[in-house]
Point group: C2
Chain length 305, copies 2
């Protein structure tokens, strides 16, 4: 009985790890089976210049996908900072439980490279006037926004005038000074707990961690105020941060994300909201915006565009 | 400028650590200032028999508050298992990122003590027929339930017929076999990521971690399937699990939770939904059920009832 509890919790709390070489005989009943069975056409390559590769102490790799379509000025700054090798020798200096891991220049004295873009609070959302977004709607209630959905590979919250990226688990935001300062992009953090959506439209969200998240989320929590590492010796050195496009081809990672307009993504969303595998007595009938992450996968070789 | 970014992000992302010995001259503007200024009458002692004290490798303490009002049969079993010292020598054996930390008998052979209660899926929610709950409503939309609120110190989701505890960060659930098995309470897990609310009403929620959560959430993620620790040497030994009421007074922790019917809690909720401190450009106007944790604090001596 104890044995069966464990085995079946295994089966229940996750999706079946199905890898289908041939089309499946029966429809997938778990979200991850849908992902495993999705055809090649349901996947889109992520451009190498939108992948930030951070290497920390011990050679551990963290890969961040940037969102230039939503935060173009901040992302341009981040790309410039990476090209200037600005983060090399900086550190992860704050880990607050159920909140954020934060990194940047703990000495607070490192000069910024020239040519960074000016930013403003107007950069926290994209206006919908004179623009038609291709939205895959998420038809469930949200505590923070009138409507939600997915646009170009990203979850979005929307009202009648603007769309913005939410602070979901693993999403990356930009530290800033008091408004109207909107940060440069040099001080970054990622969410390691329940989505702090109260920060939406108050801070620029610039991307998401798509590999190595467990390296960040399992770091020791800082003992200083709001999780800052004290003493400074506890800071975790950042060895380098590079755009994938600036790495030699042999070191360059390749990732794909699921097309949010695909039938596979529609099936994935339906099953995230209505679990049908045998474990579930009662499908929820809904899913939170931050509980339906857009599937991302690493691929060994970048497919032809 | 860099210096100010860091300092002000400090001020912005958290509440002011105000400790008021006298009534404050001006109303608190952050949730944690409300908590710091709450009068003694806004706090309720948590009974010692509802506190589970787990000590793991290295002597680290984790304290779980049990919810007998919502899961009486499972909680009675957990109390019996603690009194039988059943978890002593078991282990934390699974850590899956953005999901759960799970513990229990990894050998899957340990006999259960006699006298455990039978459980069923009917135990996952409490029926509202013939019962009037004192609900502090949370008047914001929820993707998973028609309504939400707080009852007797706990967040609840509700429909017209029942109320149930949600799977929030730090909440503790019971591993089980396929339905109609509902688990004994011997195999437990806690949430370490975005609230997996799809598990609500599919698994018994029996309590929440109120101290030592960072010890669990920062454990290395398991390299086995869905985060199981492989090899078994990676499992984290559990030295003991006791009810606080069974500990000598000198070792017994005392905790209080905020009365969800108090004016302090009402002010806390308002500010969680509408951040007014200077950092925020745009208050959210809402807050998710799992993003307004009921304040809990440890106190050195148990106050008179």
């Amino acid at each position: 009985m104890i044995h069966r509890i464990r085995i079946l919790l295994l089966a229940a709390l996750t999706a079946t790890p199905a890898i289908a070489a041939d089309p499946p005989a029966t429809p997938a009943v778990t979200p991850s089976a849908v992902v495993a069975q999705a055809p090649a056409a349901a996947w889109q390559a992520i451009p190498a210049e939108e992948l930030l590769v951070m290497t920390i102490e011990g050679g551990k790799r963290v890969v961040i996908q940037l969102a230039p379509g939503f935060s173009p000025r901040h992302v341009a700054n981040i790309q410039a900072l990476a090209r200037a090798h600005w983060w090399d020798g900086t550190s992860i200096n704050r880990v607050q439980d159920n909140y954020v891991v934060q990194w940047g220049d703990a000495t607070e004295k490192k000069p910024m490279p020239p040519g960074l873009s000016a930013t403003s609070p107007g950069d926290y959302a994209i206006p919908l006037a004179n623009r038609r977004l291709a939205v895959t709607p998420l038809p469930y209630a949200d505590a923070y926004a009138p409507s939600t959905g997915f646009v170009a590979g990203w979850p979005v919250a929307m009202d009648g005038t603007a769309a913005w990226l939410p602070h979901c688990y693993g999403y990356v935001g930009v530290g800033r000074n008091m408004s109207p300062d909107a940060g440069t992009g040099a001080e970054l953090y990622t969410v390691i707990g329940q989505a702090p959506r109260q920060l939406d439209r108050n801070i620029a969200v610039v991307g998401r961690v798509i590999d190595g998240m467990a390296t960040l989320s399992s770091l020791p929590r800082g003992s200083g105020e709001i999780g800052f590492y004290t003493p400074a010796e506890h800071q975790v050195p950042i060895l380098s941060v590079r755009l994938a496009s600036d790495l030699p081809e042999t070191e360059r990672p390749h990732f794909q994300m699921m097309d949010v307009a695909s039938q596979s993504f529609a099936a994935y969303l339906r099953l995230r909201a209505n679990r049908k595998d045998d474990f579930y007595d009662r499908p929820a009938g809904g899913v939170d915006l931050c509980n339906a992450p857009v599937p991302v996968r690493e691929v060994p070789v970048r497919p032809a565009p």
